[in-house]
Symmetry: C2
Subunit: 390 residues, 2 copies
């Protein structure tokens, strides 16, 4: 991995139209936008146009007729290799799953309040839930002659992905996941060509993207062109330098960033998270009844166990109603939407929420600073005022 | 699952000798004891005699010459079935791993301070780390003709274990884990016949026990006699009623326990945990230097990322030194021991520790009550006084 100067400027004239009026644009070029929270809470499956958009360069304009995905394992004896057309991928068994993707930088604004962090300052909308369909990565790897992880030669190996297209911090966008996750029939890793029942849009990776349930969004590489099965993680900037939790004393002014990067593990699995979507901060709410709504997602792909809501800043808690798919609990890749109906809100209130997953992990009450502003899952708090006129 | 009256009394005359002077006995019959914390912190691999002991009845006295383990899947077409002798199991490929086992009730005392909980009131010593060797459960299941989870018929199935011997709350001790965990070459589930380089002792499951890394100790069934691969979880009391997190408002006086049990998920994966082993609560410490020592274990079998220590009740934090195996980070089944050397402790101090795993999960600052007192991973706090004479 080279220490890359920021590349560009790139030409964004061919980026697609984005018709949604609900997107909060954090950066125009590359296009980075998150939906308004009330939009997220109102759809179990996020409409494609509203789904958050996280980019590092212009949106590629590819043809499904000519695009290919190359799979190789150059370090393996016999060097398995195969190039898949989109017709090859579509001819494989089709799996449909509902899975949430969440950027590791979701809720970065909360950490940026503690001290300056590096990255797009996202609020709590860099998460969305969709129905994806495609071939499983497992089937594609096996078809290319890659052995399963019961083969001791590859047991601790990784699967590296590369995208088509320019990006700012490296030659191409890249990332990797452990091979055991890619090969697990339980984990449902997809090469997806459909989103919400339609062909993938350009913004979401047309003609084919990776979807890794339970793992930070950065590993679900869009515009996928190359898969390399290899003994080590991806050498990409986005694996080695970008999505890691630095210790809190390592600040943006520190001299020792270079020392820290190789010592830290690249983020993979998500932590337990929940957010209040409605009402929003400083919203004037009617006296009552008020329905509080939000989303939650379990840590490490285990099920969300329970969701609590507090109206008094966290002194007393009530159980929320949960809404999720009927998938088995250890395969709940989608988020859980939750709601809690309050008879009245008559005084200024601080609404707080927290979730537990089935392993007994819960959210911390206070955030802890890290330089890249990732994985903020502190209690989400919203202050509201009753509207005297209602 | 029947609502079993407590069975017994049983005859404990044939229980083995327990020579360790460091065990804190919580209950004599059945024998339940945890090591002193300073013993835990001083050995990366816990000596067998000091390893915590959690029992529900008398210790079986089995013969390795005649003992068998039966594997069956009666709900599967073709009804795979095989009975393994200990010689059969020893003839299979041997895997050695270092893995911590932790009772879901570890640190129950902290929850019992909030309100009365049900169960043996353990302190923070119901965790130990050992080197285990045996056949993998995966190899045993495959040898018995059980298909891998890539077979859609069994994808969401479970593996139920039964022990030999009387126990108080059910006819035999039983538990189950998801089949995908049993079959994963990554998860290293063992049928272990060795502990710390020697034949398993009777207290730890002679002649053969299950060891499920990353999962609560209750699933690592001792004196294993029967394995059933089946569509649903174990019907055992210990799966259906015992190791579940109830919501905080469900107390020991509640009428609605029966309503809650079937709605809740049986615990499997552990949450992120860390504990201060030295100095101990109210210990008189020398002014300085003082080395603070403890253990930590990552949630969900991910690596421990970092360990913090505070000397002022959690206002300011410092990084601890970590000690663990050289196993790959996503296969750190053993615990991490940590230490932090303080130049002096001159005033009364509240030492606090907290850990993060690589998914960004961390411990909550305060405990939350649950009726069975399980999965308490709140910040561990120890108050110490400087010894004026040193």
């Amino acid at each position: 991995m080279a220490n890359i100067e920021k590349r560009g400027p790139f030409n964004y004239d061919n980026d697609p139209e984005r018709p949604s009026p609900h997107l909060v644009i954090r950066k125009d070029q590359p296009f980075n936008a998150e939906p308004a929270l009330h939009v997220l809470a109102r759809h179990y499956v996020t409409p494609t146009d509203e789904f958050f958009k996280r980019n590092h360069g212009p949106i590629p304009d590819l043809s499904a007729d000519t695009h290919t995905v190359q799979v190789a394992a150059p370090a393996l004896a016999g060097t398995p290799q195969r190039t898949f057309t989109m017709a090859d991928i579509r001819a494989m068994p089709r799996l449909e799953i509902t899975a949430a993707l969440q950027c590791a930088g979701n809720r970065r604004d909360g950490l940026n309040k503690l001290a300056k962090v590096k990255g797009v300052i996202w609020a709590a909308g860099t998460i969305s839930n969709a129905t994806w369909a495609g071939a499983t990565l497992r089937d594609v790897l096996l078809a290319a002659g890659i052995p399963d992880v019961s083969d001791p030669r590859v047991q601790h190996w990784h699967v590296a992905f590369e995208a088509v297209g320019d990006c700012e911090e490296d030659v191409v966008y890249g990332s990797s996941i452990p091979l055991w996750i890619a090969m697990s029939p339980h984990r449902d890793v997809l090469l997806a060509y459909e989103m919400n029942g339609r062909t993938l849009t350009r913004d979401h990776g047309f003609p084919v993207r990776v979807v890794v349930p339970g793992i930070i969004g950065a590993r679900s590489v869009k515009w996928l062109s190359k898969i390399t099965v290899q003994p080590q993680e991806s050498a990409s900037f986005y694996q080695q330098r970008d999505y890691k939790i630095l210790p809190p004393h390592v600040s943006i002014a520190s001299e020792d960033l270079t020392e820290w990067w190789p010592r830290l593990t690249a983020l993979q699995e998500m932590n337990v998270q929940s957010v209040i979507c409605e009402p929003e901060e400083n919203e004037l709410v009617r006296g009552g009844p008020v329905t509080i709504r939000g989303y939650a997602i379990a840590g490490m792909a285990q099920a969300l166990f329970i969701q609590y809501v507090s109206l008094d800043g966290g002194n007393t808690w009530a159980l929320a109603e949960l809404y999720r798919t009927t998938a088995p609990l250890d395969r709940q890749w989608g988020w859980t939407l939750w709601s809690y109906r309050v008879p009245r809100i008559t005084n200024d209130a601080e609404i707080v929420c927290r979730a537990w997953d089935t392993a007994g992990n819960t959210q911390p009450s206070e955030p802890t600073y890290n330089y890249r502003g990732v994985m903020n899952n502190a209690y989400h708090r919203v202050r509201v005022k009753p509207n005297a006129k209602c």
